[in-house]
């Protein structure tokens, strides 16, 4: 259960600085962070501040390299004021280059995740056929656009006609499937990708995953970035794809963006360049007020957001 509390701000120690947080991020992965089921990171402790990326302005500092009025992105938590040291910060940003909020979405964890999974793991080639689930989402829409930048053909899976329309008009998908309007995603994929799917960026699992697996091309590369369409526990059953992987010599790999944090600045610079060129656009769904953060989390877990979910503080 989330509680909204007010505390005194601690005095800064040497090396610390105080950030006034302007936007916080709300992510599907948070489902895992507040659960006691095994995950890649420790659960947020009871009575701890909710873990979250944020962007804000330094308003006080005892750190030589982090000065007042500079803007930073990092693990600021769901709070208005955040006392942090350098270890929590991913990068300084220039607020003139892009709106602050973009640094949490297409230029933030969503964009970095999309790049790490699609470029580093899928290793796309020109004319590859690429399928993306949650195609209109903050990560999915970035993957779709990266795939177009790399000369691929893109197929998006999404949950409504409204999102499908945005996938085409805004994110440049070549084909979009509203998976809620069919019982046979596999046959649709077979029709629009008769030679098979080369890259698959999956945020969902379950029947959408199965449908793509039934249509792989030889040497397909699959990134598992999320499993939002599957229960965490107990592990559900589904088709055993061992033989498919064998026959297609396909590869599946799990992606955790934290593994790519050493490349954050390098990837950010690439994304920023494409953003400035207009090749990487994004939708944002911004709630107002810290007290609305939990409701925003529930909203994205129910798929009711459109684009990167943020809270403006």
């Amino acid at each position: 259960m989330f509680q909204f509390t007010t505390d005194e701000i601690d005095d800064l120690k040497n090396g610390q600085f105080l950030v006034e947080v302007e936007y916080i991020s709300v992510d599907p992965a948070m489902r895992g962070w507040i659960s006691d089921i095994e995950n890649y990171s420790e659960p947020v402790p009871i009575n701890g501040t909710m873990r979250s990326f944020g962007v804000g302005k330094i308003i006080s500092s005892k750190h030589y390299d982090f000065k007042v009025n500079e803007y930073v992105v990092g693990w600021l938590g769901w709070q208005k004021f955040s006392v942090v040291d350098e270890s929590k910060i991913k990068l300084k940003i220039n607020p003139q280059k892009a709106p602050l909020s973009k640094n949490l979405g297409v230029l933030g964890l969503s964009g970095i995740t999309a790049y790490a999974g699609f470029i580093n793991i899928c290793k796309p080639k020109k004319n590859d056929v690429v399928v993306v689930t949650t195609a209109a989402g903050s990560v999915g829409s970035a993957v779709g656009q990266l795939a177009k930048i790399y000369g691929c053909r893109t197929i998006g899976l999404t949950s409504s006609n409204k999102k499908a329309a945005i996938c085409k008009s805004k994110f440049g998908y070549d084909e979009v499937i509203n998976y809620k309007q069919t019982n046979d995603i596999s046959s649709i994929l077979k029709k629009i990708a008769p030679n098979g799917i080369d890259c698959f960026f999956d945020n969902v699992g379950g029947i959408q995953f199965d449908a793509v697996m039934e249509n792989l091309n030889v040497k397909a590369r699959i990134v598992i970035c999320g499993t939002i369409g599957m229960p965490s526990f107990p592990i559900p059953n589904g088709p055993r794809f061992n033989r498919t992987l064998l026959i297609k010599r396909a590869k599946i790999e799990g992606l955790l963006v934290l593994d790519y944090f050493s490349e954050y600045q390098k990837i950010y610079n690439k994304l920023l360049k494409w953003y400035v060129e207009g090749k990487l656009v994004s939708e944002e769904d911004i709630s107002d007020g810290l007290e609305n953060a939990p409701a925003s989390l529930i909203k994205i877990l129910n798929g009711l957001n459109l684009g990167k979910q943020l809270v403006k503080i």
Copy 2:
């Protein structure tokens, strides 16, 4: 259905040569080659010669580079005399370096498969914990020994106490599990590999696969080399491991040795060196007479062979 037939040998055309076949290979993959279920290669045609690797001596030649009395390994088929051109041959061998039969096993497809999957895909590091299914088999036993050469800790899964004993005494496995004597492979693995499994070379699928998946270390690498423990069709159900792959940032990749045929000679040279040094030993299960080839195939599909199954002609 297999038939034993006798035909005239065609006259050699330019570029062809006649090989007197001495040993032919019998492989689990042949189950797929003679089935009409989708596979990585065309099925063997009705009334065609059964596809197979073999080793033999050139007894007549119209090819400048392939001379009478030279020994070759390649796609010779299940037959006593094979008229082939260069495209069917993988390499010439020196019969002084190793017994002829070894060139179809530990120095043949089995060894090349083990090397390609374990070295190229698993990319083993010193002290990695490595699990191998069909650990006493021709591919499995080679993987187990390669893992020891690379300084790994090896755990073999096998189907009998006799095979388990050979795994330890001959192939140097650190731990062996007779999977037929337990209902809970996963708990045994947890005990002997409490920090998790780094590399998994799987020839089987099904419950052995599941047990290993439940005990992966972070950044585990899994090769799917075979699915002999699973029906081909319809695809059976089992646990959906998407979330496991995500949390562990693990990788699964399907292996087909044919994809590594351009490196055949290079890999052969490495295997031969280890063979000569006594670091790569193997068991062979040799039937006598071409007419026994189909029975030998059934034998290995039932797991009743011990080591590389061959037929001496």
